[in-house]
Symmetry: C2
Subunit: 192 residues, 2 copies
DNA sequence: CTGGATCCCTCACGATACTG
DNA sequence: CAGTATCGTGAGGGATCCAG
């Protein structure tokens, strides 16, 4: 079937055959935060055509990375969730996202920010050492999105709402926030 | 230029735009072990067409992941090497390779094993805790490839030669080897 | 011989429309 | 809501050719 193989007996090559196709890791990213319906996934990945999303879901299921689950009534329907094997990708997804974030420049007009990517970014940048002894709640607003981050016992949690743009707060807590969620500085200047 | 964008202001999406194209991470993998010429890369990735390799190298260079370097005489020519930013991918490459290795099944007839992938596999599976107090050398032979792994002060090193198939050694040391380089068991049975 | 560039073919991707 | 059908485009694949 798959003639588009790398032809290498190698863990990395095999991994790329499982989740290396276009859009695949972004689907995994959105499923890291929990099961989602087809339409939820499509909302989070606006630019993916539905046939491609459909194809990727089938491939990821065949690869043992995700699983289809029938939702119980009343919200009957289908949801997709990571298998245990798929969940093991979370670490790689966060690290790769962190690596990419180092060379992120200003957003293009077409770029959107999704709630899921924002929550994942908070998780990826969280600095547990800076969170010892701290109990606090932060509210992060980007465009329409509002994310609440609770920090407790050196671990972050998060919740979501919808709202509008707003910036306010105690400057000291902002400093604290910057310590808690930190992206190491980029070691080079990326070209345009 | 790049209309094939994910349209997300997100570290992961950006990372995938830099190194998510087909073959890109395999090129990075081979460069993790040091600078290589165009022909060396092509030898390690037999099934990549030269125009694709050429295109990927240009893209990775534009992305700030690799760098062209002119080789000094007498071996004049061009070599490609990871930038500092590119080197930061090593961890992700190893982890993703480890993840993929968990669902690796028997090699297809077309699959090849390269020296580089073997060395990377040893690095990825190395268990430092098991290596305390141990000083030893292992020789691993797969097909034509021979890899020497030295373990010293809880860290591995490696060297390479060429040879033929051979299996021999002290059984106790084999046990020790298995402890040192371990892939956690697969949590599921991957479909064909 | 290295280090690619060029040509051509095929198929996966992507846009859009449509259906159970 | 959850996809399938259709179709055009462009990237990947393979072979060949070319310059230093």
């Amino acid at each position: 079937m798959r003639s588009r193989t790398y032809g290498q007996f190698c863990g990395l090559a095999h991994a790329l055959e499982l989740v290396g196709e276009r859009w695949a890791l972004l689907i995994v990213r959105d499923l890291v935060l929990g099961p989602k319906r087809f339409t939820d996934l499509h909302r989070g990945l606006r630019r993916i055509p539905t046939n491609i999303l459909s194809a990727r879901l089938k491939e990821l299921e065949a690869a043992g990375v995700i699983r289809r689950r029938l939702l119980p009534r009343p919200a009957a329907g289908v949801a997709y969730e990571l298998t245990e094997y798929g969940q093991e990708l979370e670490d790689v997804v966060l690290r790769l996202g962190l690596w990419g974030a180092k060379s992120l420049r200003d957003p293009l007009p077409v770029d959107i920010v999704t709630t899921d990517s924002l929550i994942l970014a908070l998780r990826a940048t969280f600095q547990p050492e800076a969170a010892r002894e701290l109990r606090a709640g932060f509210e992060l607003r980007v465009g329409e999105i509002v994310v609440h981050a609770r920090v407790e016992h050196g671990a972050p949690g998060d919740a979501v709402e919808s709202g509008s743009v707003h910036v306010a707060g105690d400057p000291d807590l902002l400093t604290r926030f910057v310590e808690l969620f930190r992206i190491p500085p980029a070691p080079f200047a990326a070209p345009a």
